[in-house]
């Protein structure tokens, strides 16, 4: 595991700075020679953890980004990565839990780390839910009273929270999709606009906000109110175009609505920079300006495809017109995105 020493000092008007978080607590990541920064770590199991703010960390390299809240109440994860990297993720979380000084006390290196209490899934895809089963089994739900009396296994494993659609898709074998193991299913779901943890966790409120028919039909944003950190799932990524999962209820307008909602929610610290920090489904830590650029790109491509549809152009003709050519060198081929936009806009209502 690599834990970057970067600690965001967004005080004042500094762009960002770095400071040591402790004496030898973290292995130092050295980016090496100056010049073009390396690409973000691929999903190859090379785990990297970057401090975001307060108790919040970004864990990358295990599939989709995983957001961690690690503190006196234990561990909360947003998403769980690919199944094959769950052991590495678990080891990284345990090491981090041992290393960080969660209560202003001297580090107790030999103390067992606190358990995983919650896993929140932003959506159903396997690169965000694949580790559910193993990570849940390594955790624990704190409960009591009638609950433990009536439900014998209520305290077994961490709780998994998600929109109801995630549970529906994971628990059903439809459309050729295999049903996932029951231990990986969400244990607590919501079906309206939002859901809150019923109490502070690691000193702050945590809210799940449903974004209808965006990347899928079960997308949740997860907002850490005290830290002012927002996890977006794959509604926003910095590594490519959005994937509009039409088969699972996604739509381009849903993605745009969600991106505009995010822009309404976040507040920059100064000059569209800093302030609310955003952890995308894939890629680097971002802020208001990064999401705004992404929203602009999706809107412009949507408008171009819409204009082509109005002219009566077929999907192949639209692809051939290369409406994403301005961004392809940055995000790769736009064909799948264009097809998603086209099919989304031409779908029968």
């Amino acid at each position: 595991m690599i834990v970057n020493r970067t600690h965001w000092m967004l005080a004042g008007i500094a762009a960002f700075g770095m400071s040591s978080l402790g004496d030898g607590l973290f292995a130092q990541q050295n980016g090496g020679a100056q010049g073009r920064p390396a690409n973000p770590p691929a999903a190859n199991g090379e785990i990297e953890i970057v401090p975001v703010r307060g108790h919040i960390y970004l864990l990358a390299g295990a599939g989709g980004n995983i957001t961690l809240s690690v503190g006196p109440d234990g561990v909360l994860l947003v998403d769980s990565g690919l199944a094959q990297y769950a052991d590495k993720v678990l080891a990284a979380i345990r090491q981090l839990s041992r290393e960080i000084d969660v209560e202003g006390q001297p580090v107790k290196s030999y103390a067992p780390p606190k358990p995983i209490r919650f896993i929140i899934n932003t959506h159903v895809h396997a690169d965000h839910t694949g580790g559910n089963e193993k990570l849940r089994q390594a955790g624990k739900t704190f409960t009591g009273g009638n609950v433990t009396g009536d439900i014998a296994d209520a305290a077994e494993g961490a709780a998994i929270l998600a929109h109801e659609s995630v549970l529906n898709r994971m628990s059903a074998s439809r459309g050729g999709e295999a049903r996932t193991a029951a231990d990986a299913w969400p244990t607590e779901t919501y079906y309206k606009d939002s859901m809150k943890l019923s109490h502070f966790f690691n000193g702050e409120g945590v809210r799940l906000i449903h974004m209808p028919n965006a990347h899928t039909d079960g997308d949740s944003l997860v907002y850490f109110r005290g830290s002012d950190v927002l996890t977006t799932g794959d509604i926003f990524v910095t590594t490519g175009y959005p994937f509009i999962d039409l088969e699972r209820g996604g739509s381009v307008q849903g993605i745009l609505n969600a991106l505009n909602y995010i822009l309404d929610l976040v507040i920059p610290e100064f000059r569209t920079e800093g302030g609310t920090l955003i952890i995308p489904g894939h890629g680097r830590i971002s802020d208001t300006a990064d999401v705004a650029y992404y929203r602009d790109m999706v809107t412009i491509v949507r408008d171009r495809v819409q204009a082509s549809i109005k002219k009566g152009m077929t999907l192949e003709q639209v692809k051939a017109s290369r409406p994403t050519a301005d961004w392809d060198p940055r995000y790769g081929s736009g064909d799948r995105f264009v097809e998603g936009v086209y099919r989304s806009l031409t779908a029968k209502k």
């Binding site: 970057n4 020493r5 970067t6 965001w8 004042g12 008007i13 500094a14 762009a15 960002f16 700075g17 770095m18 130092q28 990541q29 050295n30 980016g31 090496g32 100056q34 010049g35 073009r36 920064p37 390396a38 690409n39 973000p40 770590p41 990297e48 970057v50 970004l58 990358a60 910095t238 745009l256 505009n260 822009l263 100064f270 000059r271 569209t272 920079e273 800093g274 890629g283 680097r284 830590i285 971002s286 802020d287 208001t288 300006a289 990064d290 705004a292 650029y293 929203r295 602009d296 809107t299 412009i300 408008d303 171009r304 017109s321 050519a325 301005d326 961004w327 392809d328 060198p329 940055r330």
Partner: protein, 277 residues
């Protein structure tokens, strides 16, 4: 004995390596092409890629009325080219008295720190910012600054984009009361060649950079979700600059060739030939 003491004192007070001091208030010398207000479609001199050209041609000035962009600063790719004055100051370690960082701030920028304390690069997962992450070293009396982790930005404020994969090398060269600020942009997405530009500043001892407050307002009453842009092939303003100054689109449209004198000579030859006819 007294003389020996004086020589020892002089020896100790002389820096081992001459380090130019850049601290101070500097005003831009606007006798170059850095006056800051380009025309739409004025892309001459920018070695932009095909993707860069397409984005530039789709740009609408109404874009800057979007709430998210009203209070944006000029980023590192543009700010030293703008018409704004700059304040430069240094951080000095109180014990060693080594310079640990330089800072620069313009009228419409954020603080740009240039670290000289040997710190490592941040992770690529770290946020990208308008000023980026910069380290600096002296090369003789010049200061060389290397910047990564930049946000997407613009090279010219008529929509010529720079990418978040771009990096920047800058040089500060001081000659008395004048400071030459050289920028070399490397951008694998929106440039086909490195773009080298230089700007001049003059020391201005009585200068004060005023505050630049900004509040987001509804500048244009438009439906939520609208992003102003021109559809491909429909921008009616692209030709205005070339028509006004009688410069062919071959040059105004930018690209690497528009940086070099050969293109200017070719255009002059063509005009001369046309005049003779």
């Amino acid at each position: 004995m007294k003389t020996e003491g004086l020589w020892i004192w002089l020896a100790l007070s002389t820096p081992l390596v001459a380090q130019m001091d850049f601290a101070g208030e500097w005003a831009p010398v606007q006798d170059e092409d850095n006056t800051g207000n380009p025309h739409i479609g004025e892309f001459i001199g920018i070695p932009m890629s095909e993707a860069g050209r397409l984005r530039s041609e789709a740009w609408s000035s109404s874009y800057m009325t979007l709430p998210e962009w009203q209070c944006r600063p000029h980023g590192a790719m543009y700010i030293s080219r703008g018409p704004s004055q700059v304040r430069i100051w240094k951080e000095v370690d109180p014990v060693s008295r080594q310079i640990t960082a330089w800072h620069a701030e313009w009228l419409r920028s954020i603080d740009n720190p240039y670290y000289m304390d040997g710190r490592a690069q941040p992770s690529e997962l770290a946020p990208h910012t308008w000023g980026g992450f910069s380290t600096a070293t002296y090369e003789g009396e010049m200061l060389k600054i290397t910047t990564t982790h930049l946000k997407e930005d613009y090279y010219r404020r008529n929509g010529v984009p720079s990418s978040d994969r771009a990096t920047l090398t800058q040089y500060w060269i001081r000659r008395g009361d004048y400071l030459t600020w050289v920028t070399i942009a490397y951008d694998p997405i929106y440039l086909t060649e490195p773009m080298i530009r230089s700007s001049e500043y003059r020391l201005a001892l009585n200068q004060q950079i005023p505050p630049y407050p900004c509040t987001v307002v509804d500048e244009v009453d438009r439906p939520k979700g609208v992003v102003p842009h021109e559809l491909p092939g429909t921008n009616p303003y692209l030709g205005e600059f070339g028509q006004k100054y009688d410069i062919p689109i071959e040059a105004t449209g930018g690209g690497a060739a528009s940086m070099y004198p050969e293109l200017a000579r070719k255009i002059i030859r063509q005009k001369n030939a046309a005049t003779k006819k």
